[in-house]
């Protein structure tokens, strides 16, 4: 029993990131509201950021900024955390912001067009507007139908 607790304690960051990631995943696949889907995607991304940042951590290490600044003799015994994941995640955060912005803009356009952000309502309205979108399209392929 204590062995299991030790394993969980040594790797509790993975448990946290998996929990957070699955919350986001559930929101993405189970919710019908498009805004909630975007929030789920954001939680999912945050879980991955947390995973990378926790991978870069070293016990007793300081932030990866060289101690002493310019010209100082750098002490060899200072432990720095791993700077590479920080840099990767800085890139990922910017991409996350960009995708979120474009997704929200698309949702605003969808709301203006259909008057709703619920997936069911949008699909129903779309089937009413284009009857060929539903049954016929599934049989013949959407591209062929739109050409007719």
């Amino acid at each position: 029993m204590s062995g299991v607790i030790d394993i969980v304690y040594a790797e509790y960051n993975y448990w946290i990131y998996v929990t957070l990631m699955m919350i986001g995943f559930y929101a993405m696949i189970a919710k019908k509201n498009l805004i909630k889907k975007v929030i789920g995607a954001n939680i999912f991304q945050t879980a991955i950021f947390l995973f990378y940042i926790s991978l870069s951590d070293v016990k007793g290490g300081t932030a990866p900024i060289l101690v002493g600044g310019h010209g100082a003799e750098h002490a060899a015994d200072v432990i720095y955390t791993n700077p590479v994941p920080h840099c990767l995640i800085l890139t990922a955060i910017v991409v996350a912001v960009s995708t979120t912005a474009v997704a929200l803009a698309l949702i605003i356009r969808i709301y203006n067009e259909y008057g709703s952000i619920e997936e069911d309502v949008i699909l129903a309205a779309r089937r009413k507007l284009q009857p060929e979108f539903s049954e016929h399209a599934r049989q013949k392929g959407v591209a062929e139908v739109s050409r007719q």
């Binding site: 310019h70 590479v84 890139t91 912001v97």
Partner: protein, 91 residues
């Protein structure tokens, strides 16, 4: 539908936890990513090669400068895409 989603989520989470057992422990200094030659090289040589004390900035703007240029282009493109999608009420 909700039950199926919950089932998929639980299975995926269990698989991720199972896969995570082989990863290094939290804060382990002997983890492969920290002991990799590349990481040690960045920590030791970034000051001489790029002149900045913040290693993350040295990585971001010097070693991965091309990537950061693309990243700036991505955020610029996102701004332009939102303008194209939403700024039609004035015309």
């Amino acid at each position: 539908m909700k039950t199926l989603a919950l089932f998929v989520v639980v299975i995926t989470g269990a698989m991720l936890i199972y896969a995570g057992q082989d990863l290094p422990a939290f804060g382990d200094i002997n983890s492969p990513s920290y002991q990799a030659p590349m990481t040690q090289y960045f920590i030791e040589n970034s000051l001489e090669e790029s002149g900045v004390t913040n290693i993350v900035t040295a990585l971001l703007a010097n070693y991965r400068g091309y990537d950061t240029l693309g990243e700036t282009a991505v955020i610029f493109t996102a701004g332009m895409a939102v303008i194209l999608l939403l700024r039609r009420r004035e015309t």
